[in-house]
């Protein structure tokens, strides 16, 4: 019986690990700002238990994370929820939250997902923003230089 159990564990563990690995995605953090902390997402339970209270005026980090197909705007639950700004950030989604393992921490950190945008939409918005910025900056240039550039 023990042998069968051992065999089962040996067979199931790699499958579970592979499933976990497959659910992990990666992206790049491109923006960060400090903004008002969000309140508890599950208001009733958190209010009843007294947990999840956010100190008034507290600022939490908000990030824009660009993945292959989707762009996420995520927010830390505390002011200390800082993510190392590496080129690649690995994450997974679970119950409307983003889970990120920071360094070699035992537990993953949970982040609120504030907004999601499909990558093509995001790219188009960025192009519009870039065009507006370059128009603004060229207005400061000398007309003679503009002629020269043409």
């Amino acid at each position: 019986m023990k042998r069968i159990l051992c065999c089962l564990v040996a067979l199931i563990f790699p499958v579970l690990a592979a499933a976990q690995a497959q659910s992990t995605q990666q992206g790049t953090l491109i923006r960060m700002r400090m903004t008002d902390c969000l309140g508890p997402q599950h208001g009733f339970m958190a209010a009843m238990s007294g947990g999840g209270k956010v100190e008034p005026g507290a600022l939490c980090p908000e990030y824009v994370l660009v993945a292959d197909k989707v762009v996420y705007v995520i927010s830390g639950k505390t002011s200390e929820a800082l993510i190392p700004l590496a080129e690649v950030t690995r994450f997974r989604l679970q119950k409307n939250e983003m889970l990120i393992r920071i360094d070699d921490a035992q537990k993953e950190s949970h982040f609120h997902i504030k907004a999601m945008l499909l990558r093509p939409e995001w790219d188009r918005a960025q192009q519009r923003e870039d065009a507006a910025t370059s128009t603004m900056s060229t207005q400061h240039l000398d007309p003679a230089m503009m002629d020269d550039q043409r």
């Binding site: 491109i30 700002r33 190392p84 700004l85 590496a86 360094d103 240039l141 000398d142 230089m145 020269d148």
Partner: protein, 306 residues
């Protein structure tokens, strides 16, 4: 601070125009020239310490990222270690009556420490104070060793305290006299109290940020905490310096300044946004969360650089 970069053709054009104006020799009606430039590079000096508060001398560009306003910058146009011969230090001695008891001891300790610090050229040290309501440069380039004591005002002689004006004055001086790549440090020995300045605390912070001057404060106030102490702390935090209080504050400050400088770096990167106004700055690690970075809190990008 954003640095100005002219267009490629502006330099030769300016030279031609200047030559042309000289040859024409018509002083009565000089040509009305307008030079237009735009800024596209940010230059930032910072220091880094590990979890034991020791300077990190082996930092790599891949170890950190800059958050400029809200844009995360990882690609730097240059990354260099600071050069000790380019450390420009100014000392501001507040000799007002409120700090008289500890003034003499602290300032002489600090001058001894600066004198003992190898690698900092004598020409890179200056001392400021104030007389009445006016800032005053006590010495520049020859302040070390025994000469320094001769320039110091007697303690407790000042009844007015134009502290803010003197900090702005010293920042301007550092900006004008320091080499382009020099790290500019202003050490303020004071209780943080100001009684007569025309400049406000915000003006002081703005001026220091504009000239990239880091302010290290030695709090000489006798009370444990005071409004003056808060002022000194604010100035240090805003400009990327530190504030010290209590016994041996001068020696601790000097040790930290030198330690910070050994682990000090200069980076330049492409301006991520041309939005005018204040651009906040923050440096964060890319993988080692124990690293602590210290830099000025931001810079002002002008509405229209001309």
């Amino acid at each position: 601070m954003a640095t100005s970069m002219t267009g490629r053709r502006l330099g030769p054009l300016a030279v031609l125009l200047l030559l042309g104006s000289g040859l024409a020799a018509a002083p009565a009606d000089p040509p009305d020239l307008t030079y237009r430039t735009h800024a596209n590079e940010v230059r930032l000096t910072f220091s880094v310490t590990d979890q034991n508060n020791h300077g990190v001398a082996t930092l790599q560009p891949s170890d950190f990222a800059v958050v400029d306003t809200e844009f995360i910058v990882r690609n730097f146009q240059s990354f260099t270690h600071s050069d000790s011969t380019k450390l420009e230090i100014a000392l501001l001695a507040d000799d007002s009556q409120s700090i008289a008891p500890s003034f003499g001891r602290e300032i002489s300790n600090l001058l001894d420490l600066v004198a003992q610090s190898a690698g900092i050229p004598e020409k890179n040290l200056s001392i400021f104070s104030f007389t009445g309501s006016q800032p005053k440069l006590l010495c520049a380039a020859d302040c070390r060793t025994s000469h320094a004591a001769e320039h110091l005002p007697p303690p407790g002689t000042g009844d007015l305290t134009p502290l803010f004006d003197t900090i702005v004055y010293a920042s301007d001086f550092l900006s004008q006299h320091a080499e382009r790549d020099a790290q500019k440090i202003l050490i303020v020995l004071s209780d943080g109290q100001d009684t007569v300045s025309r400049n406000s605390l915000k003006d002081v912070a703005d001026s220091s940020l504009k000239h990239a001057v880091q302010i290290y404060c030695i709090d000489l106030h006798r009370a444990v905490s005071s409004q003056g102490s808060a002022v000194l702390y604010h100035l240090a935090a805003t400009t990327g310096g530190r504030s010290f209080a209590g016994p041996d504050a001068a020696s601790r400050a000097m040790n930290v300044i030198l330690e910070d400088f050994k682990a000090s770096y200069v980076i330049t990167y492409k301006l991520p946004s041309s939005r005018s106004g204040f651009h906040s700055l923050r440096i964060l690690p890319t993988h080692n969360s124990n690293l602590q970075f210290r830099s000025r809190s931001g810079y002002y990008f002008p509405d229209n650089i001309r």
